[in-house]
Symmetry: C2
Subunit: 192 residues, 2 copies
């Protein structure tokens, strides 16, 4: 069991000794090579995961092109909760952008956490609050943001991983062509 | 205390008799006239609310124009969780689109629910799971959807209230000018 995962959970809730020894039995360690899928578009998501190491990208296909719209790095949770909860095929893929180490948990075992860990539901609530707030911000900026504001938002969310994300994915996140990204950059640089 | 609110909570979790008598003390009944604000852009959101009756619309201002991007009706929860949690000024307004009856709860009292109601965190988790999944779907369709797909999504989310939402707000949700909406409608009608 990853001490990193336990620490991340203990940052949110209190665990009894018993709970701390139950948890390892509910997760599986999975390693992904660069460009390997954690979840493939069209498949039902059976797991969510904690990232011990590495970087994952969320991708959708639109008119034959890849749209990159989110990134998760170490110490974050990754998954398509929509497909995971509803057991409907996923409309997006999740791909390792670097060699990654994940701790995956199935729906049944996550339910076991909620049911048997005293503060399990609190953990779930706090994790989902966090991703929901990020998703809401992104929704807001998609509706009203200019490319400059979207670029700014990329930095707000992903500054620490900016050099780990390929340029064309950043452009895709912002919603511009890769060649527009450098124009946005120089416009922004001129303002400062 | 609204029996409707209690029933809605009991649909998600079990309540002891004690908890059922505690809850009324934590909510306030608020009535809003049509076009009255539940939350105004720029203010910090101090409450979330359960809608007993009525309809609320989420609005942002962009280049001097109103952008309508979500609607909540009776038996749903309403609020800007982003501002509510972070105590940052809200980037959106929430307005009553009909005369409405809400049961509001403050951050302190919601924390009391999480801390003292045995399954309070579970209730919070389930409510946020639901809004998070809706928000994710909307994000997906904003990134990749055509106006037709966005119109379809409006129906998926809001079919039951389609006649209660003004046309120009539906157009705004889809991201088209009001005059384009009828063209989309006739294109879709021709396909069926």
């Amino acid at each position: 069991m990853s001490q990193q995962l336990v620490n991340s959970i203990k940052y949110l809730i209190r665990l009894t000794e018993e709970e701390e020894s139950l948890l390892p039995t509910l997760f599986n360690r999975v390693t992904l090579k660069k460009n390997e899928y954690f979840l493939q578009e069209g498949k039902v998501s059976g797991h969510v995961a904690f990232i011990e190491k590495g970087l994952a990208g969320y991708v959708m296909t639109h008119n034959g092109e890849d749209v990159h719209f989110y990134f998760s790095r170490e110490n974050e949770w990754v998954g398509n909760y929509e497909s995971f909860l509803s057991r409907q095929p996923s409309t997006k893929s999740i791909i390792a952008l670097e060699p990654s180490v994940l701790w995956t948990i199935s729906k049944e075992n996550l339910q076991k956490v909620f049911d048997t860990v005293k503060e399990g539901d609190r953990m779930g609530r706090l994790i989902i609050e966090d991703v929901f707030v990020k998703s809401s911000k992104q929704l807001t900026s998609l509706y009203t943001g200019t490319p400059e504001e979207r670029y700014h938002e990329f930095f707000e969310l992903f500054q620490d991983i900016q050099h780990r994300v390929p340029q064309y994915m950043i452009a895709s996140f912002i919603g511009v062509k890769p060649q527009s990204l450098s124009r946005i950059r120089s416009r922004m640089a001129n303002k400062h």
